[in-house]
């Protein structure tokens, strides 16, 4: 059993994947993921795809809220901006999907910067209000600017294709989403362990001290907004291609709250936490549904009573539970399990 690793250089010390074991483990895991479409049930693939999109969006929000400490209740707006930008570029200009998705991210990032500037001096509750209002404005715009967004009629998306190969079906689009998830996760992980990421955490923990040691608060808060909304926009673009149909109702404030739930339950200020949270909250509605049906079989008065409201109530309950019992989220639980195994059979 490995207990401590001896490192010989600073280069080794700052590696993300420290040991051969971790690398081996990770390679196996990625290989396993790559094989999923070959054997898995379509429902499983569908859930993984949705989870992948959520993970990207949650990671974006975690950079802004978890790392930089700027609470945002308007993250759904950036997802909507990315989704609609991709959709409009794809349907009106016929641009290919590999251009539309980054473009969605870019437009979202641009709006993130625009929102970042007026929000520089806001903190806590006031920032939450400002970002929430932004979310409402964007939701209203996509609903009512019918000439551009088709309003409540929604937009039907063309199928994605790359080099003449159609990526339309779930199994193929799985690889697209997986590629984005891996790439953006790696980028986020690198970002948060270098200069810019450290400055983000400094702003979160002590903004005055951060400024005194030379962190330009204006610049870094805006960078954080930009990166966060870029991630949201890319997630939106992927979502629009994957679902094939966009409707303004997909991007209400409830979606923003869902993202907040993801990072709280997954773990604030950790990349792994966004992954855990994104997966967990994508899966949980179906778990609740299955559970409700099970309950219905035994308790007749609950039969057929399940509806979407149950999910929202559960999200709320989960947020409260995690804030009180496990503020570090699933990531914290994971960390404890790891330490426990690392030190086994010694207790400390």
């Amino acid at each position: 059993m490995r207990s401590k690793t001896f490192r010989e250089s600073y280069r080794e010390d700052i590696k993300v994947f420290q040991t051969l074991w971790v690398k081996l483990w990770l390679t196996t895991f990625v290989a396993f993921l790559l094989s999923v479409p070959l054997w898995a049930d379509p429902y499983v693939i569908y859930m993984i795809n949705l989870a992948g999109v959520s993970v990207i969006a949650a990671m974006g929000l975690n950079i802004l809220t978890g790392f930089t400490g700027q609470i945002s209740l308007g993250h759904s707006a950036f997802v909507a901006l990315g989704a609609y930008t991709s959709a409009i570029l794809a349907t009106r200009l016929g641009l290919p999907f590999w251009l539309c998705i980054p473009a969605g991210g870019g437009v979202a990032a641009f709006f993130g910067i625009l929102l970042g500037f007026p929000c520089l001096r806001l903190k806590g509750l006031y920032l939450a209000m400002a970002t929430m209002s932004f979310g409402v404005v964007i939701e209203y715009t996509v609903t009512h600017w019918e000439s551009m967004t088709m309003g409540v009629r929604g937009i039907s998306m063309p199928k994605a294709s790359l080099l003449g190969i159609s990526l339309g079906d779930d199994a193929r689009f799985f690889y697209v989403i997986l590629a984005f998830v891996l790439l953006l996760t790696l980028a986020a992980k690198n970002l948060v362990r270098t200069r810019v990421g450290r400055a983000f955490v400094a702003i979160r923990d002590r903004d005055i001290a951060a400024e005194v040691i030379g962190v330009n608060l204006t610049q870094y808060k805006v960078i954080s907004f930009a990166i966060s909304s870029f991630y949201g926009g890319v997630a939106g673009g992927l979502y629009s291609y994957y679902m094939g149909y966009l409707h303004p109702e997909n991007f209400t404030i409830l979606l923003s709250i869902e993202y907040i739930a993801m990072i709280i339950i997954g773990g604030m200020g950790s990349i792994l936490g966004a992954i855990f949270g994104g997966i967990f909250l994508t899966v949980i509605p179906d778990v609740i549904k299955a559970f409700a049906e099970l309950l219905g079989q035994h308790l007749p008065f609950l039969q057929g009573r399940y509806d979407e409201e149950w999910n929202i109530a559960t999200f709320g309950a989960l947020i409260m539970l995690f804030l009180i019992v496990e503020p570090t989220g699933l990531n914290g639980i994971w960390g404890r399990i790891k330490t426990c195994f690392k030190n086994w059979p010694f207790t400390y």
Binding site: D13, R193, R195, R198, A209, E211, I223
Partner: protein, 254 residues
């Protein structure tokens, strides 16, 4: 002319005068102490020097150029670093990360090169890590380098905060009560570090401190503030004999 010239500096909060036309000159390489009873305006003076407060009157000249209207991160760039009275470390980060944050101004990688973490960004991380390790050695905090700062005892945290300020390679170091709340041994350690910084690194130091033993032992010059007004300036021996200082500290004999 000194490295740092404070000219008729005033600071008011509403009707309260925190600093009233304070003049002070700090020579290059000097260890200058600022003392005074509670509420005398010492920390306000520091906050003006590093740009957290904007003075309402007067001027602060660094190398003859005014810094009174600059933002804190600009002043940091000009080589002014500080520690805080109530430790302002980034509690959830490790000691190394805290010190690396002190290197922020000496690093240049942006979000894109950081996200790639390749080539220049990687080199930069490693170079600055080496520099940070030198400071860790100097302050004798090797054992805690990977610990989150929030888990460390008070005395060590004070040291880490000093380290973070040193990581900026400052020309002027502002120490706000570096030995407050420490026992004799810890106090002596810090005093030794401060003298080493002054002598080996040639850093100019301005120190606010209540521990008169330390101040009288290590300071080259002392400025005394009382209710925002400078009441005396001089060498430790002169200050100890100054009747106005004795009055401010001990009160009048009945």
């Amino acid at each position: 002319m000194g490295l740092l010239e404070i000219q008729r500096l005033s600071l008011c909060f509403g009707g309260i005068v925190a600093l009233d036309k304070v003049d002070m000159t700090v020579q290059k390489g000097e260890l200058h102490a600022v003392i005074g009873p509670n509420g005398a305006g010492k920390t306000s003076l520091f906050n003006c020097l590093c740009g957290i407060y904007r003075p309402t009157g007067g001027d602060i000249l660094l190398d003859g150029k005014s810094i009174a209207a600059l933002k804190p991160h600009h002043i940091g760039k000009l080589g002014v670093a500080r520690t805080f009275q109530n430790i302002e470390l980034f509690a959830q980060m490790t000691v190394i990360d805290n010190l690396l944050l002190g290197r922020h101004l000496h690093m240049h990688s942006g979000p894109f090169s950081g996200a790639l973490f390749f080539g220049k960004a990687l080199e930069e991380e490693l170079d600055n890590r080496r520099k940070v390790e030198e400071i860790i050695d100097f302050l004798e905090i090797e054992k805690v380098r990977k610990k989150p700062v929030g888990t460390l005892p008070y005395g060590i945290r004070k040291r880490v905060e000093l380290g973070r300020a040193l990581a900026m390679d400052p020309r002027i170091l502002l120490l706000d009560e570096p030995v407050a709340g420490m026992n004799l041994e810890e106090t002596e350690d810090i005093a030794r570090f401060v003298l080493d910084i002054q002598e080996e690194m040639g850093t100019t130091i301005i120190m606010v401190e209540h521990d008169m033993g330390v101040v009288m032992d290590i300071a080259d010059r002392i400025t005394v503030l009382d209710f925002g007004v400078k009441i005396a300036e001089g060498s430790p021996v002169e200050i100890q004999r100054n009747p106005r200082v004795i009055l401010a500290y001990l009160g009048e004999e009945q």
